[in-house]
């Protein structure tokens, strides 16, 4: 059932600019670092002489949470808007498909789109490193993958929350407003206590307690998604 809804959802987001957005984020981040390293190439390469790849990843790292939170906000809102725009909920939910399947499909779709973004981040960072003349033989494959995906797992509570709001509130201004505020606040996340979820993406990559943070992200994400699902199931559709 869920896969049927998902298959229909892929069709619906065609031409809505969601894929463009999903690619723009990671490629943009890499391009920004390209500029950074391009402008002060000699200085940066000298200061990271011991571990140039590590230096590059460190520079990318601090922009990933805000990009991720913004991406989550916009992807959820754009996806939900496909249904809100012409009140398609009443048609969709009068079809022989459970609301659980509809909600789960949207969650899986958002997650998969963000996975593509994370993968693109790894690839474009790797390409940038090679362009900057960092040795391909020293490429830190694991860290390149971790920099996107580990943070995505830690950001799952945010994904569940944004999806819930986007799907159930017709006024996308509220969901987007909250999402953007959270994204901006997350830039100061390093100064927050560890229990605040906005800090989790950074913690999940840098530690301490990487595995525990990812576990917490999965758990809290699941709890919020369940709450959203229950609400979505009971909601009257106008």
């Amino acid at each position: 059932m869920m896969f049927r809804a998902l298959s229909a959802d892929w069709l619906k987001i065609r031409g809505k600019g969601i894929w463009f957005l999903a690619a723009l984020g990671p490629v943009g981040l890499a391009a920004m670092q390209g500029l950074n390293f391009g402008l002060r190439y000699d200085y940066l390469m000298k200061s990271y002489a011991a571990d140039p790849w590590g230096g590059l990843l460190e520079n990318v790292l601090f922009f990933v949470p805000i990009a991720l939170f913004l991406g989550i906000t916009l992807v959820c809102s754009l996806m939900a808007n496909v249904e809100h725009q012409l009140s398609s909920w009443k048609q969709l939910l009068a079809l022989p498909i459970s609301r659980t399947a509809v909600f789960s499909a949207k969650f899986v779709q958002a997650f998969l789109i963000l996975c593509v973004s994370c993968l693109l981040l790894s690839i474009s960072t790797a390409v940038l490193g090679i362009i900057l003349g960092m040795g391909a033989d020293q490429m830190p494959y694991v860290d390149l993958l971790r920099i996107g995906f580990v943070q995505l797992f830690a950001a799952l509570p945010m994904l569940a929350f944004q999806l819930w709001m986007s799907l159930t509130l017709k006024n996308q201004g509220i969901a987007v407003g909250i999402g953007i505020t959270a994204s901006v606040v997350s830039m100061f996340a390093l100064q927050f206590p560890d229990w605040i979820p906005l800090k989790w993406p950074l913690l999940a990559y840098m530690g301490p307690g990487e595995a525990r943070v990812i576990g917490a992200g999965l758990l809290l994400g699941a709890v919020i998604a369940c709450a959203g699902l229950i609400h979505f199931n009971r909601k009257d559709v106008d």
């Binding site: 229909a8 012409l86 009068a94």
Partner: protein, 304 residues
């Protein structure tokens, strides 16, 4: 007894302070075209949303195909097609893609898409993005979507809303054919009696959430006659004759105004008038228009 496709018992929907639907008992038999009438805001759409499980009733039971909506919702929705208020569609997709998005959920063969487009005569326009469609075309696409899953029951909420006369005519012909050609039961709502009159077998009239009339359209029409007017050469003498025959009536503007009566009686009266050398110029039946009756029912909330 005919099988009831839709049956509601004591259905209520109460919003915070306002009762949208009150003690509603709908009964729709298989193969009927049921006209669900009422002024704007009477509770038609609320009722239809409850029938489709989009909103929860505050109280009462809904049975479709003899099954409880709460416990067998999926099975019921599989056999039902619907168009609720203005059509829902994805504007950036073409008609075919819109229907494909639904087909991926309901299953069924791809060939069905071109079949339903043929039924609503949209085949030529099928490859254009829907946002460029006229309202009539969007409405027809909505009906195509409702037909996609070969439903046994079609629920159409104001399908002709906002259409021009030719669009209304087209949709009406389409709906009329449903029971005949495909054996589909149809529930169609509207705020215009004139529109429903031409296609429905049975009507339910709802006002402020309450059902105020539920019967066949023929019975509604039969309440429309309100008497006869006769124009004759010598009205006063003629009235005396009519009163002798047991008719009730008065003289007004040199015309006889008589209460409604059986065909045999009016025939007898005319015969007597002719036998008594009256010249009969005109015999008119006075009918209230259905719209008048509708307004009266809706206005008073009483059974005619």
């Amino acid at each position: 007894m005919t099988e009831l496709v839709i049956q509601t018992k004591g259905l209520y929907k109460i919003y915070k302070k306002r009762a949208a639907v009150v003690d509603l008992n709908l009964e729709i038999a298989r193969g009927d075209i049921y006209g669900f009438l009422g002024p704007n805001g009477a509770g038609k759409t609320t009722t239809i949303r409850m029938l489709l499980g989009l909103i929860q009733p505050t109280r009462g039971a809904i049975h479709l195909f003899g099954k409880d909506l709460k416990s067998e919702k999926m099975d019921i929705l599989r056999r039902t097609g619907s168009l609720v208020e203005y059509p829902s569609y994805y504007g950036h997709l073409t008609a075919v893609e819109n229907l494909e998005a639904i087909r991926r959920i309901t299953g069924g063969p791809k060939s069905r898409i071109s079949e339903v487009l043929e039924i609503v005569s949209l085949t030529k326009e099928a490859k254009r993005p829907v946002k460029g469609y006229s309202l009539g075309m969007k409405q027809r696409l909505g009906i195509a979507a409702a037909l996609l899953n070969n439903p046994e029951l079609l629920i159409l909420d104001e399908p002709t809303n906002g259409l021009d006369p030719s669009g209304i005519h087209e949709i009406r012909e389409l709906i009329k054919n449903m029971p005949r050609q495909y054996g589909i039961t149809v529930l169609v709502s509207s705020h215009l009696l004139g529109e429903v009159e031409q296609m429905a077998d049975k009507v339910g009239i709802i006002r402020e959430g309450r059902m105020v009339f539920q019967d066949t359209i023929d019975n509604l029409v039969s309440t429309a006659s309100s008497g006869f007017r006769l124009s004759v050469s010598e009205p006063e003498a003629a009235l005396g004759l009519a009163l002798d025959l047991g008719c009730e009536g008065v003289l007004r503007n040199q015309m006889l105004e008589l209460e409604s009566m059986q065909d045999a009686k009016i025939a007898l009266l005319v015969k007597r008038l002719v036998e008594n050398q009256h010249a009969v110029y005109r015999v008119e039946e006075q009918r209230r228009s259905l719209e008048d009756i509708f307004m009266q029912i809706v206005g008073e909330g009483s059974r005619v």
